[in-house]
């Protein structure tokens, strides 16, 4: 078996452009790698091998195209994003046999850039979870230790990237679903600014929170994918027509962190943080300081309320968004129902898993007459206070920095008993979605106790992705790469 899967996306891209490797060869090697490790990792819901090979060979027939920045690069797409003619299940029984008749905007962008989509990656059902255990098609395993979770909800994408089953992947992040699995699997993950990347063709969970973003093995690879998918799309009414800098160029031009002010939020570095996570993240801060950055203590005082506000808003939006699954136009229908109402109830009860049902019901409750003001409106008010906290902190620094998750990857099944316990693990990631700001997860080492990857999070002002990537690039060089995942 070739070791092509250990190359970076940027390295492969160069070899493809120079004609040293063919697109067909790259895709064939990727499919071979998938076949070899997938029984252990289970990162994919669908592997579209023949189709990917046919597409790659068609690329070869016309030869490398310098105008297409991802020409011949095998990538994977989270199964919540529509790819024409491939199942798009969202990790749910209710969409098990659904094949969209269109490509999501980001998928069209990937294709235009010349990427080859090798398959659709596993996820917590409708992106509701932090471990990828809540997929109707079974859990994905962490390539670093296959008895542990890869994080979630984009755990399939993170695991596939870490295991060398693709050169980059798309995930979605509603409350940390790109950054946390990237952290658990030792990859880079970028949650762009809300409105930076079109959500058109992404099945909605929390519409005011969801954002599609790239995941890859290096910062440069992540920047290349981001550059391909970002930009204005009139089909998404929340997509913002903002200037997009040349992100890979900004990254390449940034050599040190001289003059950079890194805000260190007090609330992200205290109680509840595992010592091994704190140690690895502190070492990264020291490395940043050694490269010229100034560390500035800041406060995000409403952080203790973020989990409660987030889950009220996310569940409320979910209960509205998931009302569309009615067994009429697509998805599962209970064929035994004799009447329409009965058909809705039976189809939805059979099609949705327990966590999804729980969130729909709580969302329905917090939006219902008599409770709306106490829960939903109150949460939206707290959301504004959380956004103001970020605005205040970012007056005093250029980026903010903290751990992605208070712990490293936990064992499969460890969080089954109490839903609130898993929600609390999102404490460091969800505020960013409430505020709509961009955030990047960078692997900064292995935990001294668990030997598992630890991620550091860089947060910044709206549309400041290029700066986040540039800072991450300097840190990545300073800290050096992680070893290959130990679990395969």
């Amino acid at each position: 078996m070739s070791d092509l899967h250990t190359m970076t996306l940027a390295g492969l891209r160069e070899a493809l452009a120079a004609g040293k490797i063919g697109a067909g060869e790259a895709t064939a090697a990727t499919l071979e790698r998938i076949a070899a490790v997938e029984p252990k990792v289970r990162a994919f819901v669908t592997v579209a091998g023949e189709r990917a090979l046919a597409e790659a060979r068609a690329l070869d027939a016309r030869g490398p195209d310098p105008a297409r920045p991802l020409w011949g690069v095998p990538v994977a797409v989270k199964d919540v994003i529509a790819v024409k003619g491939m199942p798009t299940t969202c990790g749910s029984r209710i969409l098990e046999h659904f094949e969209p008749c269109y490509d999501a905007f980001v998928v069209r962008r990937l294709r235009e850039a010349g990427a080859v989509i090798v398959g659709k990656t596993n996820m917590d059902e409708f992106a509701m979870g932090s471990s990828t255990e809540k997929s109707a098609f079974g859990p994905t395993a962490n390539p670093w230790d296959t008895t542990r979770v890869p994080g979630g909800s984009s755990g399939g994408s993170a695991a596939a990237v870490a295991a060398g089953q693709c050169f980059g992947a798309l995930g979605t992040d509603t409350g940390g679903s790109i950054r946390q699995p990237a952290s658990f699997c030792g990859c880079v993950g970028l949650k762009p600014t809300y409105g930076r990347v079109s959500r058109w063709g992404c099945v909605a969970y929390g519409s005011s929170l969801d954002q599609i973003g790239p995941m890859a093995r290096t910062v440069q690879d992540t920047a290349l994918l981001f550059q391909a998918i970002a930009g204005f799309d009139p089909q998404d009414s929340t997509c913002v027509d903002a200037a997009l800098p040349d992100t890979p160029a900004a990254l390449a031009a940034c050599e040190d962190l001289a003059g950079l002010r890194i805000g260190v939020p007090r609330e992200y570095w205290g109680q509840g943080l595992a010592p091994e996570v704190e140690a690895a993240c502190r070492a990264a801060l020291d490395a940043a300081a050694a490269r010229g950055a100034t560390l500035v203590p800041v406060e995000l005082p409403h952080t203790p309320y973020a989990v409660a506000a987030y889950y009220i808003i996310a569940m409320a939006e979910a209960s509205s968004n998931l009302a569309r699954f009615d067994g009429v136009r697509y998805g599962l229908r209970d064929k035994d129902a004799r009447e329409l109402l009965d058909m809705y109830v039976r189809s939805r009860s059979r099609g949705f898993g327990e966590e999804v049902q729980r969130r729909i019901m709580i969302g329905t409750y917090v939006l219902s007459a008599g409770y709306y003001d106490a829960y939903y409106r109150k949460a939206a008010q707290v959301r504004r206070l959380i956004r103001q906290d970020f605005a205040e902190a970012l007056k005093r620094c250029d980026v903010l920095c903290g751990p992605v998750s208070p712990v490293t990857a936990w064992p499969l099944g460890a969080m089954d008993a109490d839903p609130v316990q898993m929600y609390l693990m999102d404490i460091f990631t969800i505020s960013l979605n409430l505020a709509g700001l961009p955030g990047l997860s960078l692997p900064v080492g292995l935990g001294a106790d668990s030997g598992l990857p630890v991620g550091l999070q860089l947060l910044g002002p709206a549309f400041g992705e290029a700066r986040l990537l540039a800072v991450a690039g300097v840190l990545e060089r300073a800290l050096g790469p992680l070893p290959a995942p130990a679990g395969l």
Partner: protein, 94 residues
């Protein structure tokens, strides 16, 4: 207990979900655990704070009200559980 099993059944009906009798108690207990946690927000003084419903500032961008056809009827019906070839078919309504 803030939410009784009967209340859970009522909410489930609103959400077009059917919860088995033997799972209602478990759901109710989890519901109350989650809502108790959410009551943390009562500690925050939000007097006079305007709710923030979307991180995008400004009014919703509207597109021109112009009809366009992107997909054929066949494509759109292809994923439906039941059709007559031209329409979606549902069980009887009345």
């Amino acid at each position: 207990m803030k939410v009784s099993p009967q209340e859970v059944a009522r909410i489930a009906a609103l959400a077009r979900l059917g919860i088995d009798q033997d799972r209602l108690d478990t759901f109710a207990a989890q519901f109350n655990g989650i809502l108790d946690y959410m009551d943390l927000l009562a500690q925050v003084d939000t007097e006079g704070v305007e709710p923030l419903y979307s991180p995008v500032d400004g009014p919703t961008r509207l597109r021109e009200d112009k009809a366009e056809s992107r997909h054929s009827r066949e494509e759109l019906l292809a994923s439906a559980p039941e059709t007559d070839g031209a329409h979606f078919v549902v069980p009887k309504i009345v």
